[in-house]
Amino acid sequence: MFVSRKPATRRDFLKASVAIGAGLGLAPWRYAAAAGTFPEHKMKVAIPTRAGGASDRLARTFCDVWTKHIGVPSELKFYPGAGGEVGYEVYLGKTQHDGYNLLLGNMDADVIMYVLQHPPYKYPQDYIYFCRVDSDDNVVYVAKDSPIKTIQDLVAHAKTKTVTVGTSRLPHPASIGMLVLAETTGAHFNLVPYGGSNKALNAVITGEVMCGTASAGVAIGISDQVRVLGVFSDENKLSAMMGGAPAINKVFGSHIPDLPSSRAWAIQADVLKQYPERFEKINSTMKAVFTDPDYQKGYTKTGAPWAAVQYGDREVCAKHASLIIALADRYRGIISASRK
């Protein structure tokens, strides 16, 4: 599918392709570019989640603006399944390693999947993350009418009696955050996975579980139904949108690592060696998107907070991925059925 701001009709696309003279099965779009200049045709983006989801929305918003900087449109392809593993296997095994193929993944969740599911590819030997797009802190929340008013209340309660926590999945950074909080404070949390953040949210609001943990964007989206108690971060940048919820580390004097849900662009590792100039162009043009006012306009139009948009380069991504790998390994016995 093409990403374009114009009201799209098939007739428009196909007329353009006739004008440019498509061959059999070749990409129809060609922008005016000097011969040999990268890129010469559209970029292809693999997304390891289903179409019509939050990643779809983010990818479109980002690529709409990136097109201006890179000079060609992007085609999104979705490969849901197996916690993201299908998407990575297709991307690494079945697409060309020529700089024209990229992946936009949920870095944290996908790295946890990598640790627990032992897929056939290797990180970082086979691929690297190089451009973090957003960093949505994970939070702890309760229903608006809950008797629990603060994170201190929750922890105090959880020290005397096990507290049920609704979460999207066990292998998820938000779940790991609760486990670290439990370890740090001596609280007892029982993580109950609901197979999706919406279902977990519903379970908290309707009272099936006492509290929930999810990314801030999810909780902010229905802030009139929930109360955010705290954020897994050293600093709550979205405090005003969360009713002044504090950073958990500040409350307990703890050192729980930042555990956001972040999305990042990834590329096959051998592209860096074989086509370093292509990678550099992709990297620099993507970085330029973050300072483009059109991106802020498009992003905030969806209701998502702009403060969640945080560019992170290769080093930031690598450091964060290492942290998640270490945590996933440490809590493997609790968040997965695997004991090895």
Binding site: P193, K199, A203, G221, D224, Q225
Partner: protein, 504 residues
């Protein structure tokens, strides 16, 4: 917000002004619903460039109307060729197809259209006027209650298998075990995936349904010249009187439509539950309270009306958590939410304050969609029923070709076409040797839901089984379930006593 009559009328007329969006959406929705493999969610996704280019209001009414219409469309192939177009229409094959075989295809279609549109209208109006009350249902129906509700559907396996209980149970339990393929609900540990990544998330329902119903039926159909010649009766000269007859049959059972549509509405409200569950539970309930339960499965009108009304009650119900709380209840409402967020509209309770015409317009659009549906599709019953007299030499290849590509459509995996073929062969073997494919499908559909909810409930209680009997509503449902199981025996005793009294 309080509405006076003038404002309400203004709202209605404002939404009616979008008839040019609603009518085409309804037609596309019926077509999409009738093709196995396509549903509202994946159609909206495939048409994303179109929906994103529309104005938000147009986009919203388009999606809502299409969504409602797919539920009706799914019943058409279910009745005519035993191939459910959507998961929610699977139960409609149980009595709809036998009616078509008897040459009553047109009546069956007309009846199902009336039941579907009436069921959807009732649910839409109920949602419009009772939204705050309906949203409270979610506060009482949790994992425990869902386990019991779905057990009602499981009981249907025994009812379907009545003539050969052991074979029926083998098919049902086999289906339940097949439904357990894939990652478990707690640890996401893969089970019985044969090493295929594509099975990690479980058996995909659409290819399984296509295989068990469409392909297996096609492999059997070649033994007959036309579909309805199996029992020697066919309506070669289908006339309008048969459509009127179908409408009358539905009209005579209006109360049946009302209460089964509420089953669909209530189940639709629960996040994660879907139309396939609602239609099987409604069918089971309809059979349970019927004076002639032995007629179910032979082409009994109530056996068609119940699942169709429930199936169409689900659509409005599934929008309740989204509009009342802001949390989408299912895949389609989640996609709608994302599409509109991209355009700067957030579906949810706040919409009633910020843009009430849009918020209430959602439900008015549903009402109008159902009204337009009835007007557009009812005249088509006469023509659609002629499918049953098309030679199978043409019909079978067309069914197989369209359903194989339909198996590909939801996930865009070639693997899913293989799944459809494998289950097609399995379905054929089952039909030829007296095992009920419906029992197998019920197991595949309901098994994962029951396991997920049961494991979640046990997780919450730290493994204590007592949680299953810890809520008032849950215990009431258990009591109803026991009553359901005992009802055939109680009826037998009552008849025996009545006969003895009469003899005396």
């Amino acid at each position: 917000m309080h509405w006076d009559f003038t404002q309400a009328l203004d709202l209605f007329l404002h939404t009616l002004g979008y008839w040019w969006v609603i009518i085409p959406s309804v037609l596309v929705g019926i077509l999409v619903g009738a093709i196995p493999g396509l549903n509202a969610a994946n159609t909206i996704i495939m048409l994303l460039p179109l929906t994103l280019a529309m104005k938000p209001e147009v986009s919203l009414f388009f999606m809502v109307s299409l969504y409602c219409a797919t539920h009706l469309g799914g019943g058409i192939p279910a009745i005519l060729i035993n191939v459910p177009g959507t998961g929610g229409a699977a139960a409609s094959t149980l009595d709809g197809y036998p009616m078509a075989l008897k040459g009553l295809g047109q009546q069956a279609l007309a009846m199902s259209f009336v039941a579907a549109t009436a069921g959807g209208l009732i649910a839409s109006l109920a949602t419009l006027f009772l939204l705050p009350f309906l949203s409270r249902i979610g506060y009482y129906v949790h994992s425990v209650e869902m386990v019991v509700i779905m057990l009602f559907g499981i009981i249907l396996i025994a009812a379907i298998a009545a003539k050969n209980m052991l074979k029926g149970l083998i098919a049902g339990v086999f289906g339940l075990l097949l439904g357990g393929i894939g990652a478990d609900a707690i640890y996401s540990a893969p089970r019985a995936t044969f090493g295929f990544l594509e099975l990690y998330s479980g058996l995909p329902l659409v290819p399984v349904m296509i295989g068990l119903f469409a392909i297996s039926e096609a492999l059997l159909m070649i033994e007959h010249e036309i579909v309805s010649s199996k029992t020697g009766a066919h309506d070669k000269n289908a006339v309008w009187a048969q459509t009127r007859e179908g409408i009358q049959m539905a009209g005579q059972r209006w109360w049946h439509i009302v209460w089964t549509s509420f089953i669909g509405l209530v189940i639709g409200i629960i996040p994660g539950a879907g139309a396939s569950i609602a239609s099987f539970v409604a069918y089971q309930q309809s059979r349970m309270y019927s004076k002639t339960p032995e007629l179910y499965g032979t082409g009994h009108p109530e056996g068609l009306i119940a699942p169709e009304a429930a199936n169409n009650g689900v659509g409005p119900g599934s929008l309740v958590p989204l509009m009342a709380i802001g949390v989408p209840g299912g895949e389609t409402s989640a996609v709608m939410l994302i599409v509109l967020q991209y355009q700067g509209i957030v579906l949810g309770p706040r919409l009633f304050m910020t843009t009430p015409y849009l918020a209430y317009g959602v439900f008015i659009a549903m009402v109008l969609a159902y009204l337009f549906m009835l007007l557009t599709i009812l005249p088509m019953a006469h023509h659609l029923s002629r499918i049953t007299v098309v030679s199978t030499k043409y019909l079978v290849p067309i069914i197989i070709a369209f359903t194989l590509v339909g198996a590909f459509a939801p996930r865009e995996y070639g693997f899913d076409m293989v799944i459809a073929l494998v289950f097609g062969i399995l379905g054929y073997l089952c039909r030829k040797t007296g095992y009920h494919v419906a029992a197998l499908l019920i197991g595949v559909v309901l098994g994962p839901y029951i396991e997920r909810n049961l494991m979640r409930a046990l997780r919450i209680s730290d493994g204590k089984v007592g949680i299953l009997f810890s809520s008032t509503l849950g215990n009431m449902l258990w009591a109803m379930l026991v009553f359901t199981l005992l009802l055939p025996w109680l009826r037998q005793q009552w008849h025996r006593m009545a006969a003895a009294k009469h003899a005396a």
